[in-house]
């Protein structure tokens, strides 16, 4: 295999070397429990609270509104179930979108099985939401609107500030899964008017297994994890300190590097898209195409007539890491729910590939990928039983 090329940053990212350096003392020297009263605990607690400040600063949130979690899935579960359980007496209706991450969708489905009503807002063929439709779905019983900030598969950015105006006017709590945006584009939870927001460290240079939930003060949530006074009784369990320190450092770095990283990956994404356009016939790009409506690093394309799975494997054998529409390694067969929501025909959905770039990618890598991609698509189309484009 040649030098590996990693174009799957929406799945996860490498831990930033500076983040590793920041974490190491909390693995090798300091072992205190932040909840302890003594010197060891105090040192640990100081590190924990410093990280909280770093996270709050990236989101422009108040320090007290940040709860550390194990990552995006826990954060979404916490935000949605925590709100639902807290407000079950006042009404049992939620609104979300058809293109959310499974951490949101499956949590909503779990609540449906317990008697909640959930409205799943459709999107158009570009992946855009109809805000009038969102508003018309709000009922007196509606307790929460949950809309992702950016979509992990197609990169669409949703207009949370506008949604917030609607939610506020109707007095409904607003949650956003901001996992794909945090550390990549500026987030201002106050200016945007969010009540709840979720970020995950490993999407921007922190390790896996750590994230944060923003809960605007005044919002009450039923905890998921009982049994400890950590996080001011909101999330029990001994703090994952080294990782939290890493999350804090990654947030600090993002504040400095985010802007130039976004410009860099946007240029590479443009290079990749142009190269694919020029070199390969029968390609369909998915999602919003205007640059201010999508993540700078994400490109999703279908290559008509071939299976995305075979293409993914062929690229992998060339050392190129991408992901396909049906991403589950356990062999899930269903076409991606996002492709389905866009109305993409099943066969075309099965041929979709997601490229998600990161700051360390180079133009030379992109050029190599374009060449290998064109070769693989051409070869697969030659042996494909249904060449029809």
């Amino acid at each position: 295999m040649m030098t590996p090329i990693y174009l799957d940053h929406n799945a996860t990212t490498a831990v930033h070397p500076t983040v590793v350096d920041a974490m190491l003392p909390w693995l090798t020297q300091h072992y205190g429990n932040p909840s302890s009263v003594h010197w060891a605990g105090r040192a640990a607690n100081a590190a924990l609270e410093k990280a909280r400040e770093q996270v709050a600063s990236l989101l422009n949130a108040s320090v007290n509104d940040i709860i550390f979690t194990s990552g995006g899935t826990e954060g979404d579960n916490f935000a949605i179930k925590g709100t639902a359980l807290q407000r079950a007496e006042q009404g049992r209706h939620l609104i979300t979108t058809a293109v959310e991450h499974p951490a949101v969708l499956e949590t909503c489905r779990a609540l449906e099985r317990q008697g909640w009503q959930v409205s799943y807002l459709p999107v158009d063929s570009q992946g855009n939401l109809d805000l009038a439709q969102l508003e018309s779905n709000i009922q007196p019983q509606t307790q929460l609107i949950s809309v992702m900030w950016a979509n992990n598969e197609i990169g669409n950015i949703y207009p949370l500030a506008e949604i917030s105006v609607i939610a506020k006017a109707r007095g409904v709590c607003l949650h956003s899964d901001a996992v794909q945006v945090a550390g990549r584009l500026p987030i201002d939870v106050q200016a945007t008017g969010l009540d709840l927001a979720v970020i995950s460290g490993h999407k921007f240079g922190a390790p896996k297994g750590v994230g944060a939930l923003f809960v605007k003060s005044g919002n009450r949530l039923e905890p998921l994890m009982h049994g400890g006074s950590q996080e001011r009784h909101r999330r029990g369990g001994t703090s994952n300190l080294a990782s939290i320190v890493g999350l804090g450092k990654a947030c600090e770095l993002a504040g400095v590097e985010m802007q130039q990283n976004a410009v860099h990956v946007a240029q590479l994404r443009e290079r990749l898209q142009q190269g694919i356009r020029r070199g390969i016939r029968g390609v369909f790009f998915h999602g919003a195409q205007q640059s201010d409506h999508r993540l700078p690093n994400t490109l999703n394309a279908s290559f008509a007539g071939i299976s995305g799975e075979s293409l993914l494997m062929s690229l992998d054998l060339k050392g190129i890491a991408v992901s396909s529409g049906s991403a589950c390694s356990s062999g899930s067969l269903e076409a991606s729910h996002v492709m389905t929501a866009l109305g993409v025909a099943p066969q075309l959905a099965q041929s979709s590939i997601r490229f998600s770039l990161g700051p360390t990618n180079t133009a030379a890598e992109i050029d190599y990928v374009i060449d290998e991609l064109a070769a693989a698509v051409s070869r697969l189309r030659q042996i494909s039983p249904f060449e029809n484009f």
Binding site: S310, S314, L317, S329, S330, G331, L380, I383, P385
Partner: protein, 366 residues
């Protein structure tokens, strides 16, 4: 041919069909050791979570998904690329649906032959080609050797494990792209190799005959697939006498003695199933043995014969082949005559023809 290729000095790209069991794991390890570029693929053919998790509310352990994890662990320990491909729909269409159709038509199907024919050597082979692989390798106990410049299928060296019966549908084109690295080994040797490679699956038990009915409850499985309902009918003695009622012909198979619930001076066995009249026919032991029968849809690994041919014929997996005369018919079937009557001639099973240890063809017992 197998031997020359796997010992060839030019490294090839080889996809190994990995089940998580000891055979396919050793197969992958041997090829990797010989310096080939080996890619592991596991076919997920059945959503086993349906057994434990019908409503998505609860979760339980899942033994067969464990096999996928075992295969993945082996591939990772051998440091080779590994993929899971989902063939659930294809398996349902080509294997399960046929399995059910056959039972309801009064036959006893052999899904393993079809799974090999369609899933492994058509669909998975196509996947291997999509990955630019030179060969597809499996852990079958069978051998491919060249005869007069053409690939030919032979029994595995281990008489107890020989799986050539399941592979009689292989075409020359498929054989040219197939490797059976275990074909010249015994099961004991394979286990020893597993030990040598330190494979964790070395002590794993043999897999069951029919993977999608792990509890052996065929009737329950068929009813889940096709629904239960008014399926009762008559149990008739071979002499025409009505002896009782059955609960659905799919619950019976040729040679069955238990569970008939009949009183008769002599032990009775199922000797026939008549799907059109919804009848189970029973009779005394001698009626179980047949000398003559027919097969449908013959496939030949030799020039299709125009005149009667003397072969050894195997009528189920692990059956000792018996000398028989095969008279091909113009419709693609054949009349088979054993030299002496044999028990267990079961419609729906494959009859496979051998010349010594070479598979020359086969068909489906009518």
């Amino acid at each position: 041919m197998t031997y020359e290729i796997i010992r060839s000095t030019t490294p090839k790209r080889i996809v190994v069909a990995m089940s998580g069991g000891v055979d396919s794991s050793v197969c992958a390890a041997l090829l990797k050791e010989q310096g080939h570029e080996v890619i592991g693929i596991t076919m997920q053919v059945w959503d086993y979570s349906r057994f434990t998790n019908p409503d998505g509310k609860t979760f339980g352990s899942c033994c067969s998904l464990d096999d996928v994890y075992d295969a993945r662990r082996v591939a990772e320990s051998l440091q080779m690329p590994f993929y899971v491909v989902n063939f659930e729909r294809e398996f349902q269409r080509h294997v399960i649906d046929n399995f059910c159709d056959e039972y309801f038509a009064g036959r006893t199907p052999n899904p393993c032959v079809l799974c090999n024919q369609v899933l492994k050597f058509e669909l998975l082979m196509r996947k291997a080609q999509a990955l630019n692989a030179d060969y597809l390798a499996t852990g079958h106990y069978a051998q491919i050797r060249e005869v007069d410049g053409q690939p030919a299928l032979f029994q595995g060296r281990d008489q107890h494990k020989d799986q050539s019966y399941f592979l009689f549908t292989l075409t020359p084109q498929q054989m040219r792209q197939t490797l059976f690295p275990l074909g010249a080994m015994t099961k004991g040797e394979v286990r020893a190799q597993a030990q040598r490679f330190g494979l964790q699956v070395a002590e794993k038990a043999e897999s069951q005959d029919i993977c999608f009915v792990p509890d052996g409850d065929y009737a329950g499985f068929l009813e889940t697939q096709r629904g239960s309902g008014q399926k009762n009918g008559e149990i008739i003695h071979h002499n025409g006498q009505m002896l009782g009622q059955h609960q659905g012909i799919y619950r019976y198979t040729i040679g069955q003695r238990k569970g008939l619930g009949l009183s008769w001076p002599e032990p009775l066995y199922v000797v026939g199933i008549d799907a059109t009249q919804n009848r189970v026919i029973v009779g005394e032991k001698p009626l179980l043995s047949r000398r003559d029968f027919q097969v449908r849809r013959c496939l030949w690994n030799i020039e299709p014969p125009q005149s009667p041919l003397h072969v050894d014929c195997r009528i189920r997996y692990r059956h000792q082949p018996i000398a028989a005369r095969v008279c091909p018919r113009a419709d693609g079937g054949a009349e088979i005559a054993f030299t002496s009557p044999q028990k267990g001639v079961t419609p729906g099973q494959a009859a496979v023809f051998y010349l010594a240890d070479r598979v020359i063809g086969g068909g489906w017992i009518a």
